[in-house]
């Protein structure tokens, strides 16, 4: 379970200060598939970064399994991200010198598994997203949709507690977007907790809960 309490995040100072998140509180339970929606500049991605410990709010607290996270050192936060979280970025964020299998293996090796054991787990994850025949392809040899699915495989291969996805379909065509969302639904059916930021309401509707942000404030939080 992850929760945020009274999160405030602003950028700039003085007259130039822009408050992006205004006293946000929420709780995401294990097994939920949450879509965060809202117009551009609403603070969707900023909220995701606070929840996933990639950024620190000006005030407020983030709890993971009821443990406060913001007092942790950078090294400890990195460790929490490694063991408990998975990330899918808008622009896939694959390492260009690593094959699909190696990209997916990387966090698993970091967790301490041997290269061969990591490769086995990575292969399972890649098969899960329908890329069994692309193990040895470099990112440059894959389409956008395939790269995003590799990114999903990387995010789930080390069996994280919670999967964060920031606009995962923004750079994809409709068919690829559909496939990615299908992947998320499959994962959710298997019990994966997912927090997805999207501006596409059609995909948000696939989630079990939709949180709508507007000008840094939660304007609605509905079960779907």
């Amino acid at each position: 379970m992850i929760s945020a309490k009274n999160i405030v995040k602003s950028y700039g100072k003085g007259e130039l200060e822009l408050v992006v998140l205004k006293n946000i509180s929420l709780e995401i339970k294990d097994g939920e598939f949450v879509a965060i929606i809202g117009p551009s500049g609403a603070g969707k991605s900023t909220l995701l970064y606070q929840l996933s410990l990639l950024d620190e709010p000006n005030s407020g607290e983030v709890y993971f399994n009821r443990e406060p996270m913001l007092g942790l050192s950078q090294t400890d936060k990195t460790s929490v991200r490694l063991h408990e979280m998975g990330f899918v970025f808008q622009d896939y964020a694959l390492l260009p010198e690593l094959t699909a299998l190696e990209n997916v293996s990387l966090p698993i090796i970091m967790q301490g598994l041997s290269k061969s054991d990591a490769a086995k787990k990575a292969a399972v994850a890649l098969k899960q997203v329908g890329l069994a025949d692309k193990f040895n392809n470099l990112p440059s040899q894959l389409s956008g949709g395939q790269q995003q699915r590799v990114s999903i495989a990387r995010a789930i291969a080390h069996e994280p507690h919670i999967l964060f996805a920031d606009e995962p379909t923004a750079n994809l065509d409709t068919a690829s977007s559909q496939t990615v969302i299908e992947n998320f639904l499959d994962l959710h059916r298997n019990g994966q907790t997912i927090v997805m930021v999207t501006h596409e309401k059609e995909y948000a509707k696939k989630a079990t809960r939709i949180i709508e942000l507007r000008d840094g404030v939660i304007v609605s939080d509905k079960k779907n």
Binding site: T78, F87, P107, L138
Partner: protein, 418 residues
């Protein structure tokens, strides 16, 4: 550690081949800068030491004790050397001061200097000298001496206006023989003190030119001739050059010193007999070489730093992503240090191969022609290893710092390219 290896290996293997080759090329040039530049500087003076040994002293050099005219118990010493199987060759030499007159067919006119100069005349066993110092290799014009050459003389190029490199310098007090060449007749006068001068005419058989001053500034005749000219001490010689295996030198010198104490002879290794001013030049060259190496090292540090920094900056986003997905900053830094080590090791390996496989043999076969020596490249495996170690240490540091600078940037800023 394992993730560092994993990342570094793949970045090297799948990164831009051209960039990798360029970085390795720069590291190789840096290594050469460290080894070859200082090696050549030192080689200029070391070349002169080598020639001093090869052309003049041999590995062991025996000369008269200070204040003595000749080596005491010379014949006993020669007998010892003849029977010591560590000695591969030796050349006993008679030396005496003399004047040489270059113009015999007319007297000098009013206010005209006599065409005469002073020099040491050396009596040699032509075959022994050839075996010891290969005197024939130093003959610039004409021929070398043979044992039966009675009435012939070799003259050092430094004594002749036509051949001396200093002839046009007009150095006060230094007189060169004019119009003397191979085939010329010269008159040698040896002053014997109370017994009056001994005078003999010789025909110049050859001109000796070497970068060892002691060779180019002397005259050579056979020892039979000089023994006839010297009325006393016919069996007592002034110097002996000895060839032996380099490993035998310390023991041979020690044994000789036990048998012939300092009052009898001065027994030195070739290195010990080198004049102190050459030693000073060697020290100066060493200091210069070290100064240049230090500059090269600073350049190397900056080069590696820039290379790794640019590499890390261009991958800033990916470094952010790696941190974002939980890769530890230390693993990422380690991967950059490993890459720096790879570049440094490859550059050093190619530089070492080039130094010992190409440059050193080349400069040995084709020494740099300097006025006072034939410059060689001084590069020893231990010296190269030391420089590799220094270069690698610098490389690790110069790889680590920029990686740390980039890795410690805010993760989210790196991912978003802010």
């Amino acid at each position: 550690m394992r993730v560092g290896w994993f990342l570094a290996l793949r970045q090297i293997r799948r990164g831009g081949k051209g960039t990798t080759a360029l970085i390795i090329f720069i590291m190789m040039l840096t290594f050469l800068n460290l080894v070859v530049v200082s090696g050549l500087l030192l080689g200029l003076i070391t070349g002169s030491f080598v020639q001093y040994r090869e052309n003049y002293t041999g590995e062991v050099f025996i000369s008269s004790a200070p204040g003595r005219e000749h080596i005491e118990r010379s014949q006993e010493l020669i007998n010892y050397l003849e029977n010591d199987n560590r000695v591969t060759a030796f050349s006993p030499r008679y030396t005496v001061s003399a004047t040489v007159l270059g113009t015999l067919n007319r007297l000098p006119q009013k206010n005209e200097q006599t065409n005469e100069t002073g020099a040491r005349i050396v009596g040699i066993d032509a075959l022994a000298e050839e075996a010891t110092t290969k005197l024939s290799h130093s003959i610039k014009v004409g021929e070398t001496l043979h044992p039966e050459d009675d009435g012939y003389i070799l003259i050092g190029a430094n004594l002749l206006k036509k051949y001396s490199a200093f002839a046009d310098a007009n150095i006060p007090g230094v007189v060169f023989l004019e119009d003397v060449d191979v085939g010329s007749r010269v008159r040698v006068t040896i002053n014997q003190g109370d017994e009056g001068p001994v005078v003999k005419d010789f025909i110049v058989k050859g001109v000796v030119k070497s970068k060892v001053d002691e060779i180019s500034s002397r005259m050579f005749v056979t020892n039979d001739v000089i023994k006839r000219l010297l009325p006393i001490n016919k069996l007592e010689i002034q110097e002996i050059a000895i060839r032996t295996n380099h490993d035998n030198v310390p023991q041979l010198v020690s044994d000789l010193k036990q048998l012939f104490p300092p009052k009898d002879a001065r027994i030195q290794t070739s290195e010990e007999s080198i004049p102190s001013f050459l030693r000073d030049i060697e020290t100066t060259m060493g200091v210069l070489g070290n100064a240049l190496s230090s500059i090269a090292l600073v350049v190397a540090t900056i080069t590696v730093f820039i290379v790794i920094f640019i590499n890390a900056v261009t991958k800033r986003k990916f470094i952010g992503i790696m941190k974002g997905i939980g890769i530890s900053p230390l693993s990422i830094q380690f991967s950059y240090v490993l890459m720096a080590i790879f570049y440094g090791a490859m550059g050093s390996a190619i530089g070492t191969a080039l130094t010992f496989g190409v440059l050193k043999p080349y400069f040995t076969a084709n020494p740099i022609n300097f006025p006072f020596s034939d410059g060689i490249l001084v590069a020893t495996p231990s010296g190269a290893l030391l420089r590799i170690a220094i270069l690698m240490a610098v490389t690790v540091l110069a790889g680590y710092i920029p990686a740390k600078l980039i890795v410690r940037k805010n993760t989210l800023d790196a991912i978003l390219g802010r």
